[in-house]
């Protein structure tokens, strides 16, 4: 009689894959492990892990510049002053990325055993090791880890020594099947040894977080010594004679790297944030890209700068220690070197002080010399609408008088990615998680904590002596914990170790530029309030850290 449409109401999905069919076993195996590592890019950017590990310390400070930039409702000030709260967006996204990383590792662990490909066994070990790595970050930052056997279970929450044991077990289980030649972009046995050394080094902190002084157990220190020695004696790794090459765009093949995030400009996720974050918005590091600049982010604190001047006395640290500074532009020492070809244009590296020089932009294009080379000149804060204010980095930086765009010495440790057209993304330099110098310094620390200052001094001087491309830093003559922490600062500044180091050395409650808070409960971050709210349907499941 009429027209009747009839249907069994089975949903037809047109734009999503409901099963990963049609892929080869190799593709399935690759597809399982890639996201486990892929999560690292976002986690290790300027506003996430970097902000939590560096801006909270004496190495970095980010004021509300000129009252127009990096105000962000005070979150970077709170991070530095240890007044961070459970609603901090950077803490929240760091938390989220870490737990996503664990989840992706769990998915890979459940999928890989069923995949019939020779790579599956190695990947399974990597997934397990990465689960441990993400968990280690969670324990270090938030004081807890989530663990579960099956991806669909509700995780058990572990804290303290229990969490350390859990992470250790996963790392040890991963070790045997890892490919020693897969690094530095993927986990290798040496990377796992390094992470185990780091875990044992901090185990005392994790076991008794708010202790007045930590009880570093001899067993733990012995483990640190044996794991670091295993790496050093493997012969696979070598300290770089050029310190800044370790952070260069071609650092993937640098033999100092043990474990790093493999960055390639053409892979989605790869970023240049660590090179772009600190330098001026009127600094243009690439002749080919007139939109690639910096952002006037964090500076080092004057207190951190003084650790260098105190160490080297009358000698300018730039001349005393190759890790402090590397001049790439001749105009800094030769005022007539005003024309540079695009290929030879590289901004200076390390800690940048004083008037900055470089490409200047006029009407949207860089000013050229007559012969096709580019004009080098003094930089001004043109893009900040302060065209008479020079880009002249000054030592003083704080939240009141010295919070303009030019305040504070800046850091250009990683090389600015040559393909980063906007300066933000498309980075090339691998972001280092573990390198040989850190291994030597961990060895030194374990020896020192066991009372062997002589070996510790030797280790530190080994690292100092290795940078032979220019004059290496002079050897130290004595060693103690304060000097070792200072040395870690010189070697590893802005490499996202500082907060963990300061806590372990008992300095996180000290006073430094714009920071006086001495609450030990700030040694771990608050669990994001959104996570607490989301868990409120299971009473007692997720308990907020003390003091938040």
């Amino acid at each position: 009689m009429g027209i009747i449409g009839c249907t069994d109401l089975n949903e037809q999905v047109l734009d999503e894959t409901l099963s990963p069919s049609g892929t080869s076993a190799k593709q399935a195996a690759d597809g399982a492990i890639a996201p486990v590592y892929g999560r690292l890019y976002d986690l290790f950017n300027h506003t996430n892990y970097f902000a939590l590990q560096e801006i909270s310390t004496d190495e970095a400070i980010l004021p509300y510049r000129g009252g127009t930039d990096w105000g962000d409702n005070g979150i970077y000030i709170a991070m530095h002053q240890h007044t961070y709260t459970s609603s901090d967006p950077n803490i929240r996204s760091t938390w989220t990325f870490i737990n996503q990383g664990i989840a992706k590792a769990l998915v890979a662990i459940s999928a890989l055993p069923a995949i019939d490909d020779e790579s599956a066994k190695v990947y399974l070990a990597e997934a397990r090791g990465m689960k441990a790595f993400y968990s280690m970050l969670s324990l270090d930052l938030f004081g807890l880890v989530f663990t579960k056997g099956n991806v669909n279970d509700v995780s058990t929450i572990l804290r303290g020594a229990e969490a350390v044991e859990y992470i250790k077990a996963d790392l040890l289980a991963a070790e045997a099947d890892l490919d020693p030649n897969a690094g530095p972009g993927r986990l290798t046995p040496a990377a796992v040894w390094g992470l185990l050394a780091r875990l044992h080094l901090n185990a005392a902190v994790y076991a008794d977080r708010y202790a007045t002084s930590f009880n570093f157990a001899g067993d733990d220190m012995d483990k640190v010594i044996s794991y670091t020695e295993k790496i050093i004696q493997s012969g696979k790794y070598q300290l770089s004679n050029d310190y800044f090459a370790v952070f260069g765009n071609n650092n993937h093949d640098n033999k100092e790297l043990i474990f790093a995030i493999d960055q390639r400009f053409d892979i989605a996720g790869s970023h240049n944030r660590l090179a772009y974050f600190s330098i001026s918005g009127d600094q243009w590091p690439l002749a080919n890209y007139p939109n690639a600049n910096g952002t006037d982010g964090p500076a080092i604190t004057p207190d951190f700068y003084r650790t260098w001047t105190d160490a080297y006395g009358a000698t300018d640290p730039a001349n005393a220690d190759p890790r402090f500074y590397k001049q790439n532009l001749a105009i800094y020492s030769d005022p007539t070197a005003t024309c540079v070809s695009a290929d030879n244009y590289n901004i200076n590296r390390g800690i940048l002080r004083g008037q900055q020089y470089g490409l200047v932009k006029q009407n949207g294009a860089f000013v050229k010399c007559g012969d096709g080379t580019y004009q080098m000149a003094k930089l001004f804060n043109v893009s900040r609408n302060k065209p008479t204010l020079p880009v002249d980095f000054t030592l003083d930086v704080n939240y009141s008088t010295f919070s303009n765009h030019n305040n504070g010495y800046r850091v250009e440790k990683y090389e600015f990615g040559k393909n980063s057209d906007t300066g933000r993304n498309k980075g090339d330099a691998d972001i280092i998680i573990l390198r040989l110098a850190d291994v030597h310094l961990m060895h030194a620390e374990a020896k020192l904590r066991k009372g062997d200052a002589g070996t510790a001094l030797q280790d530190v001087n080994t690292v100092r002596a290795a940078r032979t491309l220019t004059t290496a830093a002079p050897a130290l003559t004595s060693m103690n914990l304060d000097l070792l922490l200072r040395e870690r600062g010189f070697e590893l500044y802005w490499e996202m170790h500082r907060r963990t180091d300061m806590i372990r050395f008992g300095k996180y409650e000290s006073t430094w530029t714009e920071k006086t808070n001495s609450d030990v409960r700030k040694r771990i971050f608050p669990i994001p309030q959104t996570a607490i709210d989301a868990a409120s349907n299971i009473p007692g499941y997720l308990v907020q850290n003390e003091g938040y």
Binding site: E16, T17, I102, A103, S155, I267, A268, N385, G547
Partner: protein
């Protein structure tokens, strides 16, 4: 004719619009043809038409039955008409009266007295799948006729309804032309988005999905002038016939149809002038110079005094032209229209242009047993948007000492991007073509048994071009992104209705089946890097020189879903006093889980017409009816595919990683886990109502109590208890959680009837409503993401137990400490202020909504005023939170007095999200004030040409009384967080306009 022409001439506004003269001339010619009737006319009848008290009635239609021959009574109620013969029958009809038919016979003068349609009881109400006389309705239904609609510049049917129906809350997202209107009937029932009622146009159920991405309300396609009436089904006994789509109420829109035996052509035109109603009072250049210094800042003074809000806005012109004609003979009736509305927004580069055409035809055959309705509507909408947030944000905070223009008259750059530069460099243009057609033949099989088929198709295609123009200063590389969207909705319904009366019993039964399919596809492409030239990127995207997967990955989605339903209704009436209705619908949907394919939605209601009882008849009631109903409805407005697991295999950021040398692997991630148990939300609603009329219907009204409880709340979990989740998306029904809306609705109308030329009418409605969330397993379900530097992670709304939806869940601002830093209440007393100290600080949902109106008429003049207001609600001023604090002033950013109101506040104090920026949103608005004059075409001696001429002037939003110091307290900037709706947030919203609209309406 000459006079009309002169009238046009006097209207300076018209002068640039030559087209209107052309249209007018065409109409005149058409009218001429109509007048030159080839019909044999050999008898003339004249007479006077009065109302029941003998007062002359102008404007009554007098039609010779079965022909198109007819006239309209003049101002004195006189008419004159030539008819074919003495057998001719004259039909006299007038709104609000009972029509009369009189056979001419030997009379040459027929005087008619039209009696008023007793308290409009015989008014027909459109139900789902049928109509019912209002007196027989047992559910809570409100009907608004076109003459009662809001007037002026109207883009969508929700605006016609605003304030007109108790229990219906219409909140415009902003003042943007064609922008979204949030309409809720009896309060929102769920957490996630999708509290919009079901809209049904002439039997065609629409899909509420946006037809474009450009912030255009999908209902804009309807030309308001084509709408004859809107019926709002409020309670479950009325909406349960729409089953799983009935929980948010149903709005039935009926468009105009032709009437047999009449013929008319109407041309109407409006010209409106709009300006920003309430600019925000930011500092002038001179105030700024003082305040920056006072706040301790180093003044950056460029010497000018620029009012940036004025620079980005304008006095906007709106023009509207509409031609419609309709009529018909015995078997065929028709209505056709073509409308054009060209609306300038009060912000520069903001325009909304719509062309719409409609043809509605009814053909009868087979001795009138077969009747076929056909409705066709085609609309073309072009919407141009400026970058609203950056323009408004810039206009409010840009240093007023900066000049707006440089020496060449171009927007000045000065290394800061001014809002005028933003306007120049950003465009967002959406074009939507939408066509809806449905055909519904009905056939009377035997007497009382009617079969009806309804087949309809609704298709829309849109293109949105988001364009960033290349520029040297500021340096912009240029980009064009085009998003193509196709929406398709097709419907087939079959139903049979049986009507039978026997003795004192009367029964109507209906059963039917419905199948509806939706298909929505969206694809976006972009390209970057354009050379600076006169060619806009959207006109030739091939000029772009950079196309990479990183920067230009296409966006896409294609979804399809189906609904299959079976439904029935029975209404029974005994002795014309006792009424009962029962409905049932079984709804199946592809969106529901395998375990819950079909939902079942029953309702029952009864009515008692007390005024028909002997014991009431002695009392002064003209109408008294008690109604009570109960029913269950559903909300199936959940997104597609949520019951099924999904993998994502991609080389996007986060999924891929270089494992070795070679192409980067596609990483596999779960986007979603299967949840076959997922189902609709269920609302159970009870309604008790009383309709009454006194004084022979002069005073009438109704009162309703309702309670609507929704459970099985559907939620996308922002985060789960265990943060280690395989899939990024988790959907669930919270079985025990409920949202209850309960309230009281009261509507009253008084019509003064008099024998003089003076008439008036007053009335209004008021709704008291409360909303409560209970038994949520969570301490808070957050929503309403704050916006602004450093505010982005904070949330403003929260769904918490014991509080209404739309609750503001915030830290409680208590003042400033000795250092001038903000302090907040430590409500849990643990010594630190954290998010745990947040309180429920009020709600965005009004506790009271009211509307009142008055109209007076004297001879040809009429004046109508319409007020609406709400109270008990608050608004979060995110604009002030992000812009108006001392630190900004110190840093040479403009602000209002609010920023410097506290001398004790330090200039370094950050503005956190807190109750500090929560403001009272109660308001009373003069929504509509309209003055009209109907010309007496008879005394002007043009009645052979023109049946009626009306001139009107309407003021819209002439004033609003409120404590709120933002643009307007009626605002709803969408800040949905993971599908949980946000409420009452104002962030750089498009300012509301105040308008004056001049209208001309000519009927031939």
């Amino acid at each position: 004719m000459k006079k009309i022409y002169e009238l046009f001439q006097e209207r300076k506004l018209l002068s640039p619009l030559r087209r209107s003269y052309f249209i007018l001339s065409v109409l005149v010619v058409l009218a001429g043809f109509n007048g030159a009737n080839a019909y044999a006319q050999n008898k003339t009848v004249s007479g006077k038409i009065t109302d029941e008290v003998g007062e002359p009635l102008p404007g009554v239609n007098v039609i010779e039955k079965g022909t198109t021959n007819g006239t309209v009574s003049d101002a004195d109620g006189n008419y004159k008409l030539s008819v074919a013969s003495s057998e001719s029958v004259l039909v006299f009809s007038f709104v609000g009266t009972v029509s009369q038919q009189i056979t001419v016979g030997s009379q040459s003068e027929i005087t008619v007295k039209l009696s008023s349609d007793a308290s409009t009881l015989s008014e027909v109400v459109v139900m789902g799948y049928g109509t019912q006389e209002k007196k027989d309705v047992t559910g809570s239904v409100a009907s608004v006729k076109s003459e009662d609609f809001n007037k002026g510049i109207i883009n969508s049917p929700e605006q016609l309804l605003q304030g007109k129906v108790a229990g219906v809350n219409v909140v415009s997202a902003s003042g943007e032309p064609g922008g979204n209107q949030a309409i809720t009937i009896r309060g929102p029932g769920g957490v996630r988005t999708g509290s919009t009622p079901l809209f049904v146009v002439d039997g065609m159920a629409l899909d509420n999905t946006s037809t474009s991405g450009g912030g255009v309300n999908p209902l804009n396609f309807l030309n308001p002038k084509d709408i004859a009436s809107i019926d709002v089904l409020k309670d479950a006994s009325a909406t349960a016939i729409y089953g799983s789509r009935g929980a948010n109420g149903v709005v039935l829109i009926t468009t105009r149809r032709g009437k047999a035996g009449s013929s008319s052509i109407t041309y109407s035109t409006d010209f409106g002038l709009s300006k920003m109603a309430r600019p925000i009072d930011v500092f002038t250049g001179d105030e700024f110079r003082q305040n920056v210094v006072a706040a301790g800042g180093l003044l950056d003074d460029q010497g000018a005094n620029t009012d940036w809000q004025k620079e980005v806005s304008r006095t906007a012109l709106t023009q509207n032209h509409n031609i419609s004609f309709g009529g018909g003979a015995d078997k065929l009736t028709y209505y056709a229209s073509l409308g054009m509305q060209d609306q300038e927004g009060i912000l520069k580069n903001s325009n909304m242009k719509r062309y719409s055409g409609r043809v509605n035809v009814t053909q009868k055959a087979l001795n009138d047993r077969l009747s076929i309705d056909l409705n066709l509507n085609a609309t073309n909408t072009v919407n141009e948007r400026p970058p609203i947030e950056s323009v408004i944000g810039g206009a409010l905070s840009m240093n007023p000492t900066y000049p707006a223009y440089d020496d060449n008259g171009d927007p000045a750059f000065l290394n800061l991007v001014t809002p005028l530069v933003e306007l120049k460099l950003n465009k967002d243009i959406t074009t939507i073509d939408r066509a809806i057609g449905n055909i519904s033949p009905s056939f009377e099989i035997i007497k009382g048994l009617v079969y009806k088929l309804n087949f309809g198709v609704d298709n829309s295609n849109s293109v949105r071009d988001i364009e960033s123009l290349p520029s040297l200063q500021p340096a912009r590389i240029g980009r064009i992104e085009s998003v193509y969207k196709h929406n398709s909705n097709s419907l087939i319904e079959n139903y049979i209705t049986y009507t039978k009366s026997f003795g004192e019993h009367s029964l109507t039964a209906m059963i039917g089946q419905s199948y509806q399919k939706f298909y929505i596809q969206e694809r976006g492409y972009s390209i970057n890097n354009f050379a600076i030239s006169d060619v806009e990127p959207r006109n030739n995207p091939s000029l772009g020189s950079s196309l990479t997967l990183t920067d230009n990955r296409p966006t896409a989605s294609t979804i399809k879903n189906e609904l299959q339903s079976f439904f029935g209704r029975a209404t029974y009436e005994w002795k014309n006093k006792y009424l009962a209705t029962a409905t049932f619908r079984a709804d199946g949907s592809t969106k529901f889980g395998d375990n819950n394919k079909y939902g079942y939605f029953p309702s029952f209601s009864v009515g008692w017409r007390l005024s028909e009882e002997e014991f009431i008849k002695s009392l002064p009631f003209s109408n008294l009816k008690l109604r009570a109903g109960w029913g269950q409805t559903g909300n199936q407005d959940l997104p597609e595919k949520k019951t099924q697991a999904s993998f994502n295999s991609s080389t996007a950021a986060g999924s891929t990683y270089p494992l070795y040398t070679g192409p980067y692997p596609a990483g596999t991630t779960f986007t979603r886990l299967a949840n076959p148990d997922l189902q609709w939300e269920v609302s159970t609603q009870t309604d008790v109502g009383l309709d009454f009329g006194f004084l022979d219907g002069a005073l009438s009204g109704s009162v309703d109590y309702f309670s609507k409880k929704t459970n099985n709340i559907l939620l996308r979990l922002l985060a789960t208890a265990d943060p280690v989740q395989v899939a990024t998306e988790t959907w669930t029904n919270l079985k025990d959680m409920t949202v209850t809306n309960s309230g009281l609705e009261l509507a009253l109308n008084y019509q003064f009837k008099s024998t003089s030329d003076f008439r008036y009418n007053v009335g209004g409605n008021i709704t008291f409503i409360s909303n409560k969330v209970e038994d949520s397993p969570y301490t808070v379900i957050p929503s309403g993401t704050a916006t602004g530097s450093g505010l982005t992670s904070a949330t403003i709304n929260g769904y918490v137990n014991g509080e209404p939806i739309g609750t503001f869940y915030l830290k409680e601002f208590t003042g400033f400490d000795a250092n001038g830093q903000s302090t907040y209440a430590d409500n849990d007393g643990d010594g630190v202020v954290t998010d745990k100290d947040r309180i429920a600080a009020g709600t965005a949902l009004p506790k009271k909504m009211y509307n009142f109106y008055a109209s007076v008429a004297y001879k040809g003049f009429d004046l109508t005023a319409n007020f609406n207001g709400v109270s008990g609600n608050k608004v979060y001023d995110n604009t002030a939170n992000a812009n108006f604090y001392k630190l900004r002033v110190k840093n040479n950013l403009n602000a209002t007095d609010e920023a410097i109101a506290n001398p004790e506040e330090s200039a370094t104090n950050p503005a956190s999200v807190s109750t500090r920026y929560l403001k009272d949103a109660a308001f009373l608005r003069l929504n509509n004030l309209s003055l009209g004059y109907n010309f007496n075409t008879t005394s002007l001696k043009i009645n052979n040409w023109v049946k009626a001429i009306r001139l009107s002037v309407t003021g819209q939003n002439l004033f609003v009384i409120t404590k709120y110091d933002g643009y307007d307290p009626e605002v709803n900037t969408e800040r949905t967080l993971d599908n949980a709706s946000s409420y009452g947030i104002d962030y750089l919203s498009y300012p509301k306009a105040k308008s004056v609209v001049f209208g001309l309406n000519v009927t031939f």
